[in-house]
């Protein structure tokens, strides 16, 4: 899922300076699950912004709400109402949600309350680790299911580098070396021969090097939710 981290309260308050009424909008999907941008966090943020001495003068009036997914334009446009006299939206979604709200409610300013950080997985309660960078050309089939793009600090395709020490990355001792993980995983799978395969240099255009990526599927839409972009 997409993982986000809350911005510092001071930074959020500075972004809201001058607004009298602000809608704090949580997102009910990824950021709810990673405990950074759901309904609970929206309410908590409203409390913290109101209680703290973060504003010169009175803080804005905050209203809170949450919508299932902020990243779907028709869903937001049809199902999300804003209270009267709202002057800005503080979004607890990832960057996709923030920008979608900005399109739907233009010219209302939409301010991010999170830093969108990575695509991660939870392998223990409350801890999400980066697993994927959405590079557009997945290599997991020949790296034992361990991503060198996201999990090697240097995104090496021919690791490990000289900084690999006893299975750990030189960045931090508690960060496992992705290429050590790959080696031992392939060894367990009796597929070490995959490491001997010489591969073509990577084409990074699918990773976004050729501009914003778009995925199209035809034959979708036409019902109540159809909104022209």
């Amino acid at each position: 899922m997409i993982v986000g981290d809350n911005k510092p309260l001071e930074e959020i308050a500075a972004s809201l300076s001058g607004y009298r009424k602000v809608m704090i909008l949580g997102c009910g999907s990824c950021v709810t699950v990673c405990l950074s941008g759901g309904d609970r966090e929206a309410r908590q943020l409203a409390l913290e912004l109101t209680r703290g001495h973060l504003f010169h003068g009175s803080p804005p009036i905050f209203e809170t709400g949450t919508i299932l997914r902020q990243c779907e334009r028709d869903l937001v446009a049809i199902h999300q109402d804003l209270p009267a006299a709202t002057e800005a939206i503080l979004s607890l979604a990832c960057g996709c949600g923030v920008q979608t709200l900005g399109d739907v409610f233009e010219p209302l300013p939409v301010i991010p309350a999170l830093n969108t950080t990575f695509y991660g997985a939870a392998n223990e309660a409350g801890v999400w680790r980066e697993m994927c960078q959405g590079c557009g050309d997945c290599v997991l089939s020949h790296t034992g299911g361990i991503c060198p793009v996201a999990r090697c600090a240097k995104s090496l395709f021919n690791g490990p580098c000289g900084g690999s020490q006893n299975g750990s990355c030189e960045i931090y001792a508690d960060v496992p070396c992705a290429w050590a993980l790959i080696y031992y995983r392939l060894k367990k799978q009796n597929k070490l021969h995959l490491l001997h395969t010489v591969r073509q240099p990577r084409d990074w255009r699918p990773a976004g090097g050729a501009g914003p990526r778009i995925r199209r599927r035809t034959g979708v839409g036409g019902g109540a939710g159809k909104i022209k972009m």
Partner: protein, 132 residues
């Protein structure tokens, strides 16, 4: 049948309510009883309640393999020949309302056979392949 089920190990500690990130769990104290409540529309199905429950009282597996629920029942139109289900009567009406020709209810196989018979009738003497 409820998707969110709690077994009899639940002691009402409210750990799940306090930790639900989607505020999909709440409780109500009435007279001598405490009720745990769940809102499926708010639930993100993240499993946080199941993870944190000290009593292992959340039966999360029902969320992963819930039953099918009937949400609409409509009259069906079947093939006039073999009875194969084709579409609903309402769908047939929608198509008719949009100005298209009335659909005769035949399955693809019997529609093709009827077309063949019709063409054989109107174009006698042609081979089967020439008719199409």
């Amino acid at each position: 049948m409820a998707y969110f089920r709690v077994n009899d190990k639940c002691n009402g500690c409210l750990s799940c309510v306090q930790n639900c990130p989607a505020t999909a769990l709440s409780y109500e104290d009435r007279e001598k009883q405490r009720s745990l409540r769940h809102n499926l529309a708010l639930c993100a199905r993240c499993g946080q309640c199941w993870r944190v429950c000290p009593q292992e009282a959340i039966e999360f597996q029902y969320f992963l393999q819930g039953p099918w629920e009937e949400v609409a029942t409509l009259d069906l139109v079947r093939c006039n020949v073999c009875g194969e289900p084709l579409y609903t009567a309402d769908f047939k009406q929608t198509v008719a309302d949009r100005g298209r020709a009335e659909i005769e209810p035949f399955c693809p196989r019997h529609r093709q056979e009827i077309d063949q018979l019709g063409k054989a009738h109107y174009y006698p003497g042609r081979s089967k392949d020439e008719r199409y």
